[in-house]
């Protein structure tokens, strides 16, 4: 057991913290207000090697590891949560291609994602397949040198900005349903996307539906083996969940920091409200739960870095961090009182932004299912 960052992890934290606070945080309100995609922020992250943190240097990544990635993502999300999710999807898509792709696919796609030239996307969810991800109905039928994709995906982050999307589709229905993963390039004929969803939070991130209308994907764009798609999706989500846990913690830390400085300044009944136990209690509970959430997140990342199974640990981190983070943001709004409800202050945005962390990449309910199955010995581990 050692609860300290390595020198390199500490350096990454300092660098990203300074970037997020100086460059991202000041623009976060405007990005939210205008629902503007923070393209320039993602460019900055790419320049610093933060979009390929889970990919070896041989493939253009910075190979910083899952712990460093969790640290960096939390800092970015604390500055601007929409930028954080862009960073998370880029790293997740890149890692999936690195881990499951052919050498040719890696050479073709990774440099684009890592350099920020193209955004990536991960397309699993469908209108009728949310938590029941295995229930997808998009199909891919082989035809000569191609697969023909038909169906639609919904709530796809980066959907209309991505140069390449990892799309899950059914390649066999009988006797046993099998799903495969495809690298679908944005200019492929037959793809269309819906208009951006009008979301409660994360308004700077691009979320759209994707439709595939006899969309021909070359066979060389099959990711992994045919039928391996569901496993690829689940593995990718294990890592993704550690990222979402980090994102939650970053957002919630920003909320607590704002609440602490407000509580020191705001005077009522002749005292700074920080002198009242009602306020102190909220701050103590938020800080305690976030420290616990952070340790759970780093533990999951550490297990990933050391090559150990971490499905259960990732679910534990994600459900705990997203729910504790939500409570912390909610308390922050409460500490600000009426001002907390106004867009002039950042805490209402933090509350709106963090809500999605207990929903996407597996709802809290799915995380609890994963954990309970593991406890009951029904897991895959």
């Amino acid at each position: 057991m050692r609860f300290e960052l390595t020198g390199e992890q500490d350096q990454i934290r300092e660098m990203v913290r300074s970037l997020a606070r100086k460059e991202f945080a000041p623009k976060a309100a405007e990005i939210d207000e205008k629902s503007r995609y923070p393209e320039e922020n993602l460019k900055r992250l790419a320049e610093l090697g933060l979009l390929g943190m889970l990919i070896p240097e041989s493939h253009g990544g910075s190979d910083a590891g899952a712990v460093a990635y969790a640290i960096a993502l939390a800092e970015v999300a604390g500055g601007c949560a929409s930028t954080g999710v862009g960073m998370a999807v880029a790293n997740m898509a890149g890692e999936a291609i690195y881990r499951f792709g052919s050498e040719e696919q890696k050479r073709r796609f990774l440099p684009l994602l890592v350099s920020g030239t193209e955004a990536g996307a991960f397309a699993l969810t469908e209108p009728s397949a949310g938590s029941d991800a295995f229930g997808i109905s998009t199909v891919a039928v082989p035809d000569g040198d191609t697969y023909v994709l038909k169906g639609s995906k919904s709530f796809i982050t980066n959907g209309s900005r991505a140069g390449v999307a990892i799309v899950m589709a059914v390649t066999q229905k009988e006797p046993k349903k099998r799903i495969s993963a495809f690298l679908v390039e944005s200019e492929t004929r037959g793809i269309s996307h819906g208009k951006p969803e009008n979301k409660m939070g994360l308004r700077g991130s691009n979320t759209v539906s994707l439709s595939f209308d006899d969309c021909r994907v070359p066979k060389r764009n099959l990711l992994g083996e045919e039928g391996e798609g569901f496993r690829i999706a689940m593995k990718t989500l294990d890592g993704g969940r550690v990222g979402i846990a980090s994102q939650s913690i970053g957002i919630a830390r920003a909320a607590i920091e704002a609440a602490i400085s407000y509580a020191r300044e705001r005077r009522q009944f002749g005292n700074p409200i920080a002198d009242f136990q009602a306020i102190q209690w909220m701050i103590a509970d938020s800080a305690t739960e976030l420290d616990a959430a952070w340790l759970l997140t780093l533990r999951a990342a550490y297990r990933k870095d050391t090559g150990n199974p971490f499905t259960r640990e990732a679910s534990v981190a994600k459900v705990f961090a997203s729910e504790a983070g939500y409570r912390a943001c909610h308390r922050a709004v409460q500490i600000f009182g009426g001002y907390g409800y106004m867009r002039e202050y950042p805490v209402e945005r933090h509350l709106r932004d963090i809500k999605v962390t207990s929903i996407y990449e597996g709802t809290s309910e799915i995380q609890r299912t994963v954990i309970a199955r593991d406890l009951l010995g029904q897991g895959h581990r």
Binding site: R264, R299, Y302, V319, T369, I371, A372, L375
Partner: protein, 380 residues
């Protein structure tokens, strides 16, 4: 960041788990029922080197780190929370302050019997009028030549009836309030020391809790721990360590609630299937496990900070606050999963609930922990 146990930490976990499961667990229900002090278990824990885990071997201890200590605490508490608190008081509240503040002579004289388990220690801070406000000590110590003369009453003192040695706090200078408190290493056999009758408690029944009455008790000057007026600092430092032990105790109790509920949920059939198949039950189990893992990591982190001699007041308070409240929640869920059987003493679920409750109270209530944490954040 490294989240693996060292070889030594893994070994102590295996050893204590096996001891706790084989020798402690089978007796826990009976000890709870009768309130019997587990003398034979304390003796065995002494043989295993558990009474002074983080005390250097030179002073009769096992010379291990505080992570080993919390690992051992969790395993013992998983089996019997009462036995665990006896262990915790001796390690954290008796040995640790002597190690941290004692002079060499005191460490040579007093530590070996305590750390090896030949003697048992207790900690006399709380008074009838000084609970959370521990600075409001009424017990007095007046210097007379080479002695101090102590008068006053301590209450709710764990281990008092069996203890040989008490780390005792008394006012040497009332004017200076909490800065006028001084610490003494009290021989419990001294003239004028009376132990009151055992409290009849909701839980941790096998651990004895009693008052200590001091009537003109003479304590030699060489048994003063630290300087005059240093007592409050010693008490706070000691409790910073003690809280890590209680956090580990809470993790152990919570784990007992979870493991018992898990086994029951797999066996118990309703509506034609094991109740473990229902999401209502799965959710409770998942939340228990998640919170236990969070609590354990906070506890390990605090122990690790203590091992490095880094400041750890905030971290200890976070661990204790979170672990104790998580244990309470887990124990309620444990009963709920057992349904009616959870309310019956035939099953251990209700004992875990009664045992868990104290972890939110002693060595600083949850309210005091929140005060410590918020002060660190708001002043820091």
């Amino acid at each position: 960041m490294v989240f693996d146990l060292t070889e030594e930490q893994g070994m102590i976990q295996d050893m204590v788990r096996s001891f706790a499961q084989k020798e402690v667990l089978p007796k826990a229900a009976e000890m709870d029922e009768t309130g019997r002090y587990p003398e034979e278990l304390v003796r065995k824990m002494a043989e295993l080197g558990l009474m002074g885990i983080a005390v250097p071997e030179d002073y009769g201890g096992a010379g291990m780190d505080n992570i080993c200590y919390v690992i051992a605490m969790e395993e013992i508490a998983r089996a019997c929370a009462s036995t665990a608190v006896i262990l915790s008081v001796n390690n954290s509240l008796a040995c640790d302050p002597i190690l941290a503040f004692g002079n060499e002579e005191q460490k040579r004289r007093v530590l070996p019997p305590l750390a090896s388990g030949r003697h048992l220690g207790c900690f006399g801070l709380t008074e009838p009028g000084a609970g959370s406000d521990s600075g409001a000590q009424k017990t007095t110590a007046v210097r007379e030549g080479n002695h101090y003369v102590l008068n006053g009453t301590k209450n709710f003192i764990t281990n008092a009836p069996q203890a040989d040695t008490c780390i005792l706090f008394a006012m040497t200078d009332k004017e200076r309030k909490h800065k006028g408190i001084t610490t003494f290493i009290l021989n419990m056999k001294s003239n004028g020391v009376t132990v009151g009758k055992k409290e009849n408690k909701m839980g941790i029944n096998a651990s004895a809790t009693a008052s200590i009455i001091l009537e003109d008790v003479k304590v030699p000057v060489e048994d003063r721990l630290g300087n005059e007026g240093e007592g409050f600092k010693i008490a706070m430092h000691t409790l910073d360590g003690g809280r890590i032990g209680i956090a580990a105790q809470a993790v152990g109790i919570a784990r007992a609630s979870l493991e018992d509920a898990l086994a029951y949920a797999k066996e118990r059939k309703q509506f034609g299937q094991p109740i473990a198949n229902f999401q209502a039950i799965q959710w409770m189990l998942a939340d228990m496990a998640t919170e236990i893992e969070a609590a354990r990591l906070l506890t390990y982190r605090a122990a690790w900070q203590k091992d490095r001699n880094a400041r750890h007041s905030k971290e200890s308070s976070m661990a204790k606050l979170y672990a104790s409240e998580a244990a309470m929640r887990a124990s309620v869920k444990g009963i709920q999963i057992h349904g009616g059987y959870g309310y019956i003493k035939e099953y251990p679920a209700e004992r875990h609930f009664r045992d868990a409750k104290i972890t939110e109270i002693y060595e600083g209530t949850s309210e005091i922990q929140r005060l410590v944490i918020s002060q660190a954040l708001l002043k820091g």
